[in-house]
Amino acid sequence: MAEHLVFELAPAIAGLPFLAFLIALFFGKYMPKKGALAGIAAAAGSLVLAVWTAATLFGGAEPYHTHIYDFVLGAEGVGGVDLSFGILIDPLSALMLVIVTLISTLIQIHSLGYMNDDGQTGLPRYYAELGLFTFSMLAFVYSDNLLMAFMFFELVGLCSYLLIGFWFRDEGPPSGAKKAFLVTRFGDYFFLIGVVAVFATFGTTAFVGEDSFVVMAEHALADGATEHITTYLGLDVQQWFTVIGLLVLGGVVGKSAQFPLHTWLPDAMEGPTPVSALIHAATMVAAGVYLVARMYGFYALSPTALGVIALIGGFTALFAATMAVVKQEIKQVLAYSTISQYGYMMLALGGGAYTAAVFHLTTHAVFKALLFLGAGSVIIAMHHDENMWNMGGLKDDMRVTYLTFLAGSLALAGIFPFAGFWSKDEVLYETLIHGLAGSPLLLVGYAFGLLSVFVTGFYTFRMVLLTFHGNPRSDAARDPASLRWNTKLPVAVLGIGAATIGFINMKPVEELAGTHLTFLHDWLAIGTVGEESEFAALTTEHYHHILFADYGAGYSAADLGPLIPAVVSLGLALAGVGAAWVLYSDPDPVPQTKKLGSVRTLLMNNYYQDEFQVWLARGVTVPVAKAADTFDQSIIDGVVNGVGSVSLFSGERFRRIQTGVVSNYATLLTLGLTLLLVVFGLVGGWF
């Protein structure tokens, strides 16, 4: 029995979008907006519930955890495992619920303009899939165990496949959808093995409570309580935890589009733009990073896993940012910026900056959704031409879009005081102080991150300048289509968010002003109050404790104020913006990246990663599969067919004794009986 009414309503947060999915699917074609109204109403209802939930937590309520349904009950006492569904609402999941429902609501409103007003067909399917997508992500977010998380993680992947391939009659979308599905599935394969490994090791996959795998793992390392833990491959406990962590990380790398599984995300741009916004800001891609944050108590125990996460993140941040520099389509630039920004979150998680990672996840959700919806507005105005070299001069005709897009870009580039500045700065600062105190791996990640701050500033403003400034370079740009309220309202809401949401955690200012300003940190620390509470293990304070403990990651913090690193990263971002301004502020800009020569070719081809992966598939996987096929056909099937042929042949011969003549049967019977008697006689010694 929940103490608070809203916690009893928690299943409805995911349930409402599912209802909308059913309504849009079956009745969408009879409804005035083809299912959009059901979707918007459901998402808005979920948003209200999510905000209410968060407010209840903020008001001092204990986090909430409940079992809903056990679908497999293990046998008692023989190490059987229970498989169940449950809901866990703690500050992290409540925050994510608010983000997902907010973005989903705004995106469905925007879709009214992008899809309905554009006369697209198949809209009931579109809104149904959006509803299912939202439902899967919300259920994933408040999963209380790893298996449930995995199931909805997969459902999220399925929905993104459906939505990316929404225009399945064209050539590009189905191909992009398949790629997204297959590449993320490759990562999920490791995740699945990780889930099984967690079951095999701990006998449970719960996230919360004394007998959750996170807490059991911590006790195993801190107090040597290993009696309920089984390790494999002859590894000691910590090494085995690292292995499990890295297996689960496979799914994270696939979903969050980290190197080397990032290749699906740019191709996912083939889907409708609001879908891209949803995938990039709140669902799908966010799922990976969220998963690491969800089980951060487990990762914090393994310095190796953290190091790998930090290095992958830092490298991806820079790697993707460089590719964004030369792209010509506005959505491609945004796609690579997403990969890069999620790299920052991974860097933060690996660098021991849990709060910063969640902070960046939050701010990024807002400003990336804003940028995509802005890009969507531009694309409508440009009659679905996405090439930035055909745009230019849109800032006067599209005032609202321009201003909000600018706010989003400033946030993305990390310019004071927009959202991205605060979160990105905190990511870099935390990584730096942990790195300086004896973790050189983190310093490498920090260097990558710092360099990509400059690149981010550059590509972001290259995009802004090419799209909105200068002279129009095509007829469509000279006379853009007009937009209605339904595209402007969401970007306006998000634009205000992008400008202000950074204020929830102003670490450098806190240092400067001496007052308490890190509200997000406090939020994530809810649950610490009662030390004996099962939720205490899910707070940022506790993670900090594990990170700094000898049995955990063993991090320590260097004594360095947050001001100087903040100034450095802001300076780099401004330098990037300045470079873009110098090169592209001309009314008739020229493609400056041509000067990069062969480097540009390399970047345009995405470092030949696609070619590499195709080669892996064609040059390695296909021959291996062929060899396996040959083995299967000749050896395995040969044995089976051989057995069959022998039976067939002997059957063919043996049936000849069935003559159909009764006398023969009688003879055989008599002879058989006689023979039996003789044998009994000989054996029994009658003669």
């Binding site: 049936r655 159909g660 003549v661 009764v662 006398s663 009688a666």
Partner: protein, 101 residues
């Protein structure tokens, strides 16, 4: 004076072998049926003989049941033979082989 039990067994064996011989060499279905009856009655003779020998009536009761059973069997057998004749215009058991392989 009573006849020794071995003579009964000998009689039974002779009757049984006569029946067996009939089954093995005859082609006429009616003769077949009669041979089967002979074999059954050989069993009955045995039962009655042992029953008498041990002074226990159970064997005789059993043989009564077997006689009733044999009557039923004959009814079915005659039925089969009638159908056989209708289908093959003959009651030679070696002719009815259309259902083999």
């Amino acid at each position: 004076m009573a006849v020794a039990v071995q003579y009964y067994l000998l009689l039974s064996a002779v009757v049984f072998c006569t029946g067996l011989f009939g089954i093995l060499v005859r082609r006429n279905a009616l003769m077949f049926l009669m041979s089967v009856e002979l074999m059954l009655n050989a069993g009955n003779i045995n039962l009655v003989a042992f029953s008498h020998y041990y002074g226990n009536l159970t064997g005789q009761v059993f043989s009564l049941f077997i006689i009733a059973l044999a009557a039923a069997e004959v009814a079915i057998g005659i039925g089969i033979i009638l159908v056989l004749y209708r289908n093959f215009d003959d009651i030679d058991v070696t002719e009815a082989t259309t259902m083999r392989w």
